[in-house]
Amino acid sequence: MPDPIEPERYELSAPPTYRFATDRRGFLAMLGGGLLVVFSAGAQESGGRRRGAEAVPQDLGAWLHIGPDGAVSIYTGKTEVGQNIRTSLCQAAAEELHCPLASIQLVMADTSLVPYDMGTFGSRTTPTMAPQVRRAAATAREALLDLAAEKWNVARAGLSIAGGQISCPGVPASIGFGALTQDRALTRTIARDVAVSQPLRQSAPKIAARDFVTGKHKYTPDLTRPGMLFGRLLRPPAFGASVASVDAPALPGVTVVHDQNFVGVAAPDVQAAADALRQIKVEWKRQPVPPGAASGPGLYEYLKRNAEPLTGDTQASVEDAIAAADIKLQGAYTVAYIAHAPLEPRAALAEWQDGKLTVWTGTQVPFGVRSELAAAFGIPEDRVRVVVPDTGSAYGGKHSGECAVEAARLARAAGKPVKLVWTREEEFTWAYSRPAGLIEIASGVHRQGTVAAWECHNYNSGASGLVGKYDFPKQRNIFHPCQSPLRQGSYRGLAATANHFAREVHMDELAHALKMDPLEFRLKNVKDERLRAVLQAAADAFRWGHGPGIGIACGFEKNGYIATCAQIAVEENRIRILRVVEAFDCGAVVNPDHLKNQIQGAISMAIGGALFEQVRFADGQIANPRFSQYRVPRFSDMPEIEVVLVDRPDLPSAGAGETPIVGLAPAVSNALFHLNGTRLRSLPLILG
């Protein structure tokens, strides 16, 4: 079984051998008086799993602080990239503390202030960070009630807490949180067994949303520092090219850095930086590109040829069971490399002061970037601070710190702060892509409609979502890592999109072979009640069975259950998606409106990978590194979208940013077959 969170195999390098205790005395002094709730060694880990030497953090991170003025501050290493966790985490704290949302401040992703966190990925914030915030807030609430009982010399049971005030029958005035602690510095450790409540399911608006509609919010590219210079890099003409020689004229006011394969400049403005770049002459030594390492139909054979040899596969073969089945089917499915293309490209502002480095940058892994910076410059991690402003999206595409390292390298040479904002072309070329993949499925099905056996091989794209929730009596699902011709990494939903595409199209092909309704066939092969429930909910809302060009798909990933129905038309030999209904069960709903926003957004983003997005490349170069050449979904591509929330308040909440992306592509491909009998097995779905 794949790990349910599958830390990204391409981007997560081994953790550092040592992680020394961070000196937080200065930070604690800065907090002053009030109530501090800390995370203690041995309590549940932060988001993401820890391995080896990191299993127990040596340092104590502040989790929650209530100042003498009553202001509540919470500290987390998670990053806000548009998934609205700043809001949902504040909601979690406010609900436990019974105080207004506005009285809570969330300090996010500043490595000098927040506890260690592995990163914001894998839809882990809601299932792991939110419960921790709840426990911290509940611990604070209990401590405050203790203080009030002590102050009034009454029994705890009679006290009530609401609106950020504690009151007691018979005591005329209620008391605020700050007045209870006053100037005392109190510390509590998060209680493991403290009672926390389920989410209240309230659609609180995005925190500080007005800053975004007025242009006030400062993303990394909007920041400045006194004396700041602007950086630019001279990029190689192709992947793997190395510097043979550099001829750079001396330019007043411009710092030129040539260090191994790094060639860059820092100048007083972007124009001077661009001018300087043009005057540097570099001879590059290019690497030979292996035959077949290019986008197009040959790519998938290339990946299969370059797969790692299979070892340790001791599962019994399912071949006999497939051979004995009434109907046998084989299919090969492919997905192209696609780009995240976050609208805010990679950006970093780096400043060295007294041998210490501070970098503001948009990343999903602030502590990982801190490690990258420390390693790049050979300095201890406690001399590096990474700060992540709320960032212009990521989608799994900002797990790396190359832009931070580049800005810091230029800043060190220039002796001044340097801001580096990647161009769109750099973002398309030098970031990483969602892996392309080939998925081969062989199956056998009994005439009465149950699958007898299933064998699936995924080449290169990944293991997420490789094993479905269907009740196949015999199955074998294998992921084959391959040598990728492109730099590749995580992407919203990881390989679950590819694996669901292959599985759900193949299921449709089986239903057709059986002359069975695709919904009925799926229900016949799945016992899982939650999957059945979303299938039925989507089908009901969609009025499944009526109209031409309809398709259905379902799935499970990261503890979320999804079913998607789509209706399409073909216009000018292109697929047009008319209507989508998606039912989603992610356990207890936290914030219904933000959840719907995530689902609508995932469906909209999925349209790109389903219909037109693909990174084209050959000879070690990206052929379409611009929005004019790389088509992303626009207003005119939007179908009617209906979201059905299947709320399970009795269950823990799962994350919702990723799984809703997996259902659209197979539902659309199946709808096309229903419309005109054309079966497309490759993403993007392009009619011949």
């Binding site: 403005d269 124009q271 293309a341 805010e344 909209s604 929005f627 626009r634 005119s636």
Partner: protein, 149 residues
């Protein structure tokens, strides 16, 4: 190289000293610290840099600053319009990076066409990319603003 010495931004005359071929976006962001307009693509494809020039939406990443001299430039910082509240009411954003450009484009549409049809909204807004996919909410925000106008 010829220079531009002054721009009128959000009703205020601002002295600058900029090469006339510099993109307006660079001047706004790096010289005048008006960072609401964003860089997204540098080729007028994403709309994140949209500002108004004498009321008309333009892509400031591609517009040489000389073309803006002597005209009224309005950036998101100078916009006070009910569409902004509608974006909040509809939750028409996720990461917010496209939001400035969306609002500037939407305000230009509503000033020209106070009651646009859905097709008119899509046609007018199609040059603005929201990678988070909040398009349907943005359409709803524009429609709600038009209804209440």
């Amino acid at each position: 190289m010829p220079k531009v010495a002054e721009l009128t931004v959000n009703g205020i005359r601002r002295p600058i000293d900029a090469d006339s071929e510099l993109p307006l976006l660079t001047v706004l962001r790096d010289r005048l610290d008006l960072t609401g307009a964003k860089y997204g693509c540098g080729e007028g494809q994403c709309g994140a840099c949209t500002v108004l020039l004498d009321g008309q939406p333009v892509r400031s990443c591609m517009l040489p600053v000389r073309a803006a001299a002597g005209k009224q430039i309005t950036t998101i910082e100078g916009i006070h319009h009910p569409l902004q509240d509608a974006f909040l009411n509809e939750g028409a954003m996720q990461c917010g990076y496209c939001t400035s450009g969306m609002i500037v484009s939407g305000v230009a549409l509503l000033r020209k066409t106070p009651h646009p049809s859905r097709a008119e909204i899509v046609r007018h807004m199609n040059g603005n990319i929201c990678r988070c996919g909040t398009y349907l909410r943005i359409i709803a925000a524009i429609q709600k603003t038009a209804q209440h106008a």
